[in-house]
Symmetry: C2
C-alpha cells in the first residue's frame, strides 16, 4: 500500500504526525483543579530524552513569546501555554516534541515531512519504551492506556497527515469527502480554522478513536483514507488544468507578482497568495526548488516568531512590512524565473 501511496502523494501530503498520550500513576490529571506535584514529571522526561539526542526544555512559566512561537510552529498547543506546570522537551531538529502537563501528563509527538506515519510512530515507540522504564504509565488491561479524555483511551494514539488539497477545495468536492470518511472513523478538518479553508487549502486527516485497534491498525486506516483523498485530489487537479489552465496560471502569476513586489502585506492576504503559489507549484505551473521552505515561511511570519526574530514587539504595520520582505526574498530564492511565462 505504501508504495502506491508514494506514487500519488507528491505535492499533496505535507507532513505526517503521530501523537501518544500517557499518564503517570500516582498523579492526578493535569486538567484537574488543584493537581499537585506535576512539576516532578518534567525532570525525568527531560533526563531520559537527553540520553538519546539533543533536546531542549521549555518551561511555560518562562518566556511567553518563545512559547507562542513554539505554538505557531505546531510544536506545542495553546492549552499547554495556559497549564500551570506546563513544559515541553523538543528535539533540536524539531521533529520530536514531548509536552508535559497539557491535557495528559505526557504527550509525545513526532512530525515528519511528506507521508511518513510509520517512521513517525517507530520514532515515538522508542521514546515511549525509554520513558516507560523510568515511570509507571497508567495502564488498564482492558482499556489500555488511561487518558484524561476518553477519546484517547487505548493506544493513546492520534495519527494524522496534513494534506494540501486545493483542487478538491476549489471544485467543492471536499465536503462530500469529509462526510464520507467521518463514517469510517476518520476526521478531516481544515487547518486554518472554519471558513478559511479556501485560503490555505490545508486539511488534517486523523483517526477519531484510539481504542480497540492496534497502532498499526490506526496507521493503516489513516493511510487508506489519505490514499483515497490523494487520488481524488490528483484527479481534480488534472481536470482543473484541462479546463482552467489559463485562469489558474493567471491566479498563480499574480500571486507571485504581488508577493515579490508589495511593500507590506496582511497576514490574511499573505496566506491567500502564498497558498496560490503552492497551488502553482503543485500543478507544475511554476517551478519551486523547495516547497518546504514555504511552510517554514508561513511559520516565520506569524506574530510571535516575528517578535522573536526582531528582538522586540513590532507594530502591525511593521509586521506587514517584515512579512512582505520575507516573502519577496524567499520567492526570489526558490522560484525558477524561467517558469514564469
Amino acid at each position: 500500500m505504501t508504495e502506491n501511496i508514494n506514487s500519488v502523494i507528491d505535492n499533496i501530503a505535507v507532513t505526517s504526525r503521530v501523537r501518544l498520550a500517557r499518564n503517570i500513576n500516582g498523579y492526578v490529571f493535569p486538567v484537574k483543579k488543584g493537581a499537585k506535584r506535576l512539576e516532578e514529571i518534567i525532570k525525568p522526561v527531560n533526563n531520559e530524552l537527553s540520553k538519546i539526542g539533543k533536546f531542549k526544555l521549555y518551561l511555560m512559566s518562562g518566556n511567553q513569546t518563545e512559547a507562542l512561537a513554539l505554538k505557531e510552529k505546531h510544536l506545542i498547543s495553546a492549552d499547554l501555554i495556559k497549564s500551570a506546570a506546563g513544559a515541553a522537551v523538543i528535539s533540536e531538529d524539531e521533529s520530536v516534541s514531548v509536552m508535559i502537563n497539557e491535557e495528559d501528563h505526557i504527550r509525545q509527538q513526532c512530525v515528519l515531512k511528506g507521508y511518513n506515519l510509520e517512521k513517525a510512530y517507530k520514532t515515538l515507540n522508542k521514546i515511549d519504551d525509554l520513558l516507560s522504564k523510568k515511570m509507571s504509565f497508567a495502564f488498564d488491561d482492558k482499556l489500555g492506556y488511561l487518558t484524561s479524555c476518553p477519546t484517547n483511551l487505548g493506544t493513546g494514539m492520534r495519527a494524522s497527515v496534513m494534506l494540501f488539497l486545493p483542487a478538491v477545495t476549489l471544485n467543492k468536492s471536499i465536503n462530500a469527502i469529509i462526510n464520507a470518511v467521518n463514517k469510517i472513523g476518520i476526521t478531516v478538518r481544515g487547518v486554518y480554522g472554519e471558513g478559511s479553508n479556501a485560503e490555505g487549502y490545508m486539511y488534517q486527516v486523523s483517526n477519531q478513536v484510539s481504542l480497540g485497534l492496534t497502532e498499526y491498525d490506526i496507521i493503516k486506516n489513516v493511510e487508506t483514507t489519505v490514499f483515497q483523498i490523494c487520488e481524488a485530489e490528483q484527479s481534480a487537479r488534472k481536470k482543473m488544468l484541462e479546463s482552467n489552465a489559463l485562469e489558474i496560471k493567471d491566479i498563480v502569476f499574480r500571486a507571485y507578482g504581488i508577493l515579490t513586489n508589495c511593500v507590506k502585506i496582511s497576514s490574511a492576504e499573505f496566506m491567500k497568495l502564498i497558498s496560490n503559489i503552492k497551488l502553482g507549484a503543485a500543478l507544475s505551473i511554476i517551478k519551486v526548488s523547495n516547497v518546504y521552505k514555504i511552510s517554514e515561511l508561513i511559520v516565520k511570519v506569524q506574530p510571535a516568531n516575528i517578535t522573536l526574530a526582531a528582538g522586540r514587539a513590532l507594530s502591525a504595520e511593521e509586521r506587514d512590512i517584515y512579512r512582505a520582505d520575507c516573502a519577496a526574498k524567499l520567492l526570489d530564492e526558490i522560484v525558477d524565473k524561467n517558469s514564469l511565462k
Copy 2:
C-alpha cells in the same frame, strides 16, 4: 507666465490640444438632414495639406476598424464616424488632424506633448491660412467664424490641456477646483467618463466660450487655470508623499507586480493599475524612462487598435491576454528595476 508653468507642469500636463472650427459658404452644416455636396469639401482640404507635409486621407465610409482605432487615439470623434460624408486628413506624426464634415465642415486640431498650447495654435494657424485661401470660410464681422453650435462662434477655437491629477483626485479637492474654474469660463472634466475619474486621474482643462476673446486671450485664460491646478497638484503630491509614502509605494509596486506577471487583464483593471504606475512615476517612486510610452500603450490595448494589430477580431479573453502581454513587455522596457525596492 510660461516659464513659471514649465517649472511645475512636469509630470502633470500630458498633452496640449487646439481645435479650430470652420464652415464653408455655400454648403449647409453637415449635421443638417439632407445636406448635400459635402463630399466636395474633402478633396481640396486633402490637396492643400499634402502641399505642406505627409498627410493621409481616411474616409469614414471605408474601414470601420481603422476609423475606430483613430477614435481611440483621439484623432477623430465618434460623431465623425457616423457622419455620411465624414473624412479625416491626418499628418504622419499624428500631431495634426483635420476632420471634415463632423459637426462643422472643417475641424482642424493639433495635439502636442506636454504643455505647448501656443505652438499648437501657431501650427494650426498656418494650416488655417492655407485653407482659407482656397475656400471661403463662413465669417461674420460681428460674430466672427460661424459654427454649427453657438458655443463655438467667434474664434471657433477650443484650447485644452490634458492633466494627470492623481493627488487632487485622491485628496478629493478636485471637485472644489472644478467648481471654482467653471465660474471663470473654464471647464475641467474627467477624461475617462463620469465616475471613473479615480481610475485614470486624467482631466481636460479647456475654455468654455470662444466668442469675444482673441485666440491669445483664450490660451492665456486656459494657461492661467492650468498653472493654478498644477500648483495645487504639486502641493497635494508633496503632502501625499510626506504622510503616505509607504501606502503609495505599496500601491505602485503592487501595480507593477501584477502588470508584469498577470496572464490576462481586463480593460478596467489595466486602466486602474497603469494609472498607479503613472502615479509612481509622477511621484518619483519608480523611475520610468519614457512616460509617453505609457500613453501609447493605453491606446494600443483598446479594442479597435488590438483588432488592427492582430489583423482579425479577437475574443474578449484574447484581448485580455494581449493586453497583459503588451503591458508586461513595455514595463520591462521602461521601468528601471533598481528603483523597485
